[in-house]
């Protein structure tokens, strides 16, 4: 793709049109004197003529060609617009930068000054000032520029405040860099783009304001033409000949529109780091080759829907693929799982292993724009496939049958709603309880999940509670409508170790007392060791080992599981300390790997590993012979084919 093509693509059609329009205006502003226009000659016989071939925009009451006036007016309108913004930008940005950076009393007094500026009728002041000091391009520019200073100061301050707390600024302050250096080198480059983008909007504002001034006869002198002035002077004839006003107004409108559009795109491009945002699919055009090309083939082992009363949720051959700016991310690639009734299944994996996407897709919580639709897979619950359900019907399952608790204790609670109301809500919606009953239930639930003083806490807001309590509240919300299954997505990862243990105890109690089936997702194999009934280890969107907790811990088959276990701090073996943190990072799931996804990080990989992918399968004969326990894993070495032939010597033995 040629550079021009990419450039064009980045700005989109509307952005390109906006740029073209602004370029046209600039050409008019710069070269008006050399263009074949005549903003002076009066065609008195032709006064107020409608637009025609010889007068594109018609003529005004004195018979002057309006198109010529508009082209001529571009110059002064732009000079005033840009000039005033330069004044406002320089003054406002300086004030805002300093106030935001030094904060303290400087910032406080500036805030009051800004408030005062906002309380001040600026436009009327501009009219007054121009009337008194005299109508001239210089005065109009100066007055509008000064009145713009507070706007820029506000924008600059807000942007600066975002950065002063960031590490790189704090670091350079700590090192003792001079304020001037930090301001100019670290802060300015980062706040420049949003503020410059705002000044594009500002130019539009000024052009409009200048028109308003002309309206009151407080604009530029009559000898100079601006767009506002063309419109203002056509005001009295507007009813007889609307074109006098309409067409110049259209030019102003389009110019401001173009400036705003460019400003918006500048910000969007800046935020996304220069990568154009992926176009959301407009009409359902079949133009997504990456998806159409290689959909996964449904696994041949798909069984008919069984109604095993022992199984609460059964996941079969689940695929979750997502659109991203970089291509399709294959987050989950054919996962089979069984959550047994009244048991706790731990799903373990590093971040990026796809475990969260798996959890969310069980309840249809991955929004469709990024989600690639119609991939193979089933989520069986109560003999029905939840994946085939629309989000309306899923509402009766979510919360009521299968509930979910999320990772971040703070952000998953509504910040502006009392926790009691949040717990009561699902009970009211699903169980049809009255508000009073639901609130009483909320108190009971808070007590059940171990929140002390529940009568008082129902009236608390999330920010008034500790992390551990918030997570208990989240569990109470999940339990509100008596679900059978609880999906807990890393509910303890953000908490400290003691609180983690307490919460796990709570989940265990709930499992035992309520017969709740719990899918517990975590990156920490250690926390599930003594609590989960079964463990499934996930890597790169696939399950690599699966079995009862006892079996997996006693005899981990997959090198990844072993590494996870090795990375666990052990209390029983002091000399063992924190060994084997796994080297390398999980693969980017943009491409289909040929062999075992773990191969690049695997210390015992053999040649076959990079060529063919090992399937998740049960024991080989060898294990039975050795009397080992029976569980599934996806590693060539665990299958006897390889280990028999070329047993690699693992470094640690």
């Amino acid at each position: 793709m040629s550079p021009q093509r990419t450039w064009l693509k980045g700005w989109g059609v509307s952005g390109t049109i906006a740029w073209a329009w602004i370029a046209l205006i600039v050409v008019a502003a710069v070269a008006a004197r050399h263009l074949p226009i005549d903003p002076i000659r009066q065609h008195l016989s032709d006064a107020l003529a409608a637009p025609s071939w010889s007068h594109w925009f018609g003529t005004n009451s004195r018979g002057i060609d309006i198109f010529s006036l508009v082209v001529d007016g571009a110059r002064t309108s732009m000079i005033v617009g840009i000039g005033a913004i330069l004044i406002g930008l320089t003054g406002g940005a300086t004030i805002g930068l300093i106030a935001g950076y030094f904060r303290g009393w400087l910032d406080r007094s500036m805030l009051i000054a800004l408030d005062a500026a906002a309380a001040f009728p600026a436009f009327a002041a501009a009219v007054a000032a121009v009337l008194f000091w005299g109508k001239s391009v210089r005065n109009v520019t100066l007055v509008l520029g000064i009145l713009t200073i507070p706007l820029f100061a506000r924008v600059m301050r807000a942007n600066t405040l975002q950065y002063v707390e960031r590490d790189f600024v704090r670091a350079s302050r700590m090192i003792g860099a001079k304020h001037r250096r930090v301001l100019l080198r670290e802060l300015l480059p980062n706040v420049a783009v949003p503020v410059l983008s705002y000044s594009l909007v500002g130019v539009g504002l000024i052009i409009a304001a200048e028109g308003g001034l002309s309206f009151f006869g407080a604009g530029v002198p009559d000898s100079v033409t601006t767009w506002g002035q063309v419109i203002a002077s056509g005001r009295s004839q507007a009813e007889r000949a609307p074109h006098v006003v309409l067409l110049p107004a259209l030019v102003i409108f389009l110019t401001i529109l173009a400036l705003n559009k460019i400003s918006e795109l500048v910000i969007v491009r800046w935020v996304s780091g220069g990568v154009p945002m992926p176009k959301q699919k407009r009409r359902s055009a079949p133009d997504e080759p990456s998806v159409v090309l290689d959909r996964p083939t449904p696994s041949p082992t798909a069984r008919p829907i069984t109604d095993d009363p022992e199984v609460a949720v059964q996941v079969e051959d689940l695929h979750v693929w997502l659109h991203s700016p970089f291509g399709v991310v294959r987050a989950v690639n054919g996962v089979d799982l069984e959550l047994r009734r009244g048991q706790m299944l731990a799903l373990v994996g590093e971040s990026g292993s796809g475990k969260t996407m798996l959890a969310r897709s069980l309840l249809g919580l991955v929004p469709t724009p990024p989600l690639v639709p119609d991939l193979p897979g089933r989520v069986l619950f109560d003999g029905m496939d939840l994946l085939s359900w629309g989000s309306k019907s899923l509402q009766n399952v979510r919360g009521r049958k299968i509930a979910m608790v999320f990772q971040d204790p703070m952000t998953q609670l509504d910040p502006v709603m009392r926790v009691g109301a949040q717990i009561a809500e699902p009970a009211m919606v699903h169980l049809g309880l009255s508000r009073t009953l639901a609130m009483r239930r909320a108190v009971d639930l808070l007590a059940e999940v171990g929140v002390p003083d529940p009568e008082r806490r129902v009236r608390a807001y999330a920010h008034e509670l500790s992390g551990g309590l918030r997570q208990r509240v989240a569990i109470a919300i999940a339990l509100a409508a008596e679900p059978q299954v609880l999906i807990a997505d890393e509910p303890t990862s953000a908490l400290d170790v003691t609180v983690q243990a307490q919460l796990l105890d709570l989940l265990q109690t709930l499992r035992d007392d309520r017969g709740l089936s719990v899918l517990f997702i975590t990156h920490d194999l250690g926390v599930v060791a003594s609590r989960a009934d079964e463990v499934a280890v996930m890597y790169a969107g696939r399950i690599v080992e699966r079995g009862t907790t006892a079996d997996v811990f006693a005899d981990p088959r997959h090198p990844y599981t072993r590494a996870l276990l090795g990375a666990m701090p052990r209390i029983d073996n002091r000399s063992h300390q924190r060994l084997n943190t796994i080297v390398g990072t999980p693969p980017v799931l943009l491409f289909e790997q040929a062999g075992c996804a773990f191969a690049p990080r695997c210390t015992v990989a053999v040649e076959l590993c990079t060529q063919r992918r090992p399937m998740l399968q049960a024991e080989t004969l060898l294990h039975y012979v050795r009397g080992a326990n029976a569980h599934d894993s996806a590693c060539w070495l665990a299958h006897n084919e390889v280990s028999a032939v070329e047993s690699p010597v693992s470094a640690s033995d």
């Binding site: 009051i112 408030d115 005062a116 906002a118 309380a119 001040f120 009728p121 436009f123 009327a124 002041a125 009219v127 007054a128 009337l131 008194f132 000091w133 539009g204 409009a208 028109g211 308003g212 309206f215 009151f216 419109i231 005001r235 507007a238 009813e239 609307p242 006003v245 309409l246 107004a249 102003i252 409108f253 401001i256 529109l257 705003n260 959301q280 969310r360 919580l365 509402q395 399952v397 979510r398 919360g399 009521r400 509930a403 999320f406 952000t411 998953q412 509504d414 910040p415 502006v416 709603m417 809500e425 699902p426 919606v429 699903h430 807001y461 920010h463 008034e464 919300i477 999940a478 409508a481």
Partner: protein, 322 residues
């Protein structure tokens, strides 16, 4: 409640600071105007004696800051002085303020209603055609200068199609419908650009909120999209909109000059400009004070509302611990 009261008091003090700063600034600006003020009032043919008397009456012989002090003291007691036409400034303000307030409040409410309705409608259809159409429309509304919009309304709605009267302003009590029709155009002219701005703010914030964890959590609880939008998303998303509405108060009041001029509405903005043109400095000062006062009151109201809507702000400002 003690905390809340103390907060209110602190807020009031800083708002009084704003009032002082605005009037001081206005005085200073008026001071900067070129020419002798007494001469400006009396005309160049005035006798030196007459000028002396006027200067004495207006305290023009005292230093600027003393004059401002005197003005403040009297203003605090409700005495805003006498305009050049011999009218009490407070009396002419009393006439204009209701008109301006009605215009401002109706325009703000109309703009908020349009923005909230539109943003909710669009958020429900995020990314679809209706959402894109509305955002384009809002873009256009923001880009339309007020005087152009007002002029278009005058030409078409009032002039060509005669849907609204231009020059009659019956009071609400004598002719309610006629009154509403007479303020419809000025209100719409003020409201359209505001609605565009408000829509964009609210739509953006709603969009961001809908991505928040607690919304996903609400979905996971099986709540309907409608319930999520109204019960959970709207309130935290309306905070920045509310502050912007407050900030715009003075701009709408003062910026109404264009509208008041176009539609011949006797409001504060027009009083301000007429007084400027007549060099009636006492009245200018009075009108600026009135606008700033309304701004301050509206913003106090907005602040209280923000506190009620967002318990986090409440905690931060009252410094409460739990």
């Amino acid at each position: 409640m003690g905390e809340a009261l103390r907060w209110l008091l602190r807020r009031c003090v800083s708002l009084i600071g704003v009032l002082l700063l605005v009037t001081l600034g206005t005085s200073a600006l008026l001071e900067l105007l070129p020419g002798n003020k007494a001469v400006a009032i009396l005309g160049t043919s005035a006798t030196p004696e007459a000028i002396k008397i006027v200067e004495k009456n207006l305290n023009l012989d005292r230093p600027f800051i003393v004059r401002y002090g005197i003005w403040t003291e009297r203003a605090a007691q409700g005495d805003l002085g006498i305009g050049r036409d011999g009218e009490l400034v407070s009396a002419s303000l009393k006439q204009r303020i209701p008109t301006s307030l009605e215009l401002m409040v109706s325009a703000q409410l109309l703009a908020i209603a349009l923005a909230v309705g539109g943003a909710i409608y669009a958020t429900k259809r995020a990314g679809r055609r209706a959402d894109r159409t509305l955002s384009t429309a809002a873009f256009g509304m923001v880009a339309l200068p007020q005087f152009v919009l007002g002029l278009l309304f005058v030409i078409y709605l009032a002039g060509k199609w005669k849907l609204f009267p231009l020059l009659t302003h019956p009071t609400f009590f004598s002719d309610p419908i006629g009154h509403l029709r007479s303020i419809a155009l000025p209100v719409m002219t003020l409201a359209v650009p505001l609605a565009g701005i408000y829509y964009r703010i609210l739509r953006t914030d709603l969009g961001a909120t809908m991505q928040a964890d607690f919304i996903t959590r609400a979905r996971a609880s099986g709540l309907s999209e409608r319930r999520i939008l109204f019960n959970h998303a709207l309130r935290p998303s309306s905070l920045s909109l509310l502050s912007v509405v407050g900030l715009n108060t003075a701009a709408v009041l003062g910026g109404a000059v264009i509208v008041e001029n176009l539609f011949a509405v006797p409001g504060l903005g027009r009083l301000l400009l007429e007084s400027v043109a007549k060099r009636d400095l006492v009245k200018v000062q009075g009108a600026v004070l009135a606008i700033a006062l309304i701004y301050v009151v509206v913003n106090l109201f907005v602040d209280v509302l923000l506190q009620l809507l967002d318990p986090r702000v409440r905690a931060a400002t009252s410094g409460s611990v739990s």
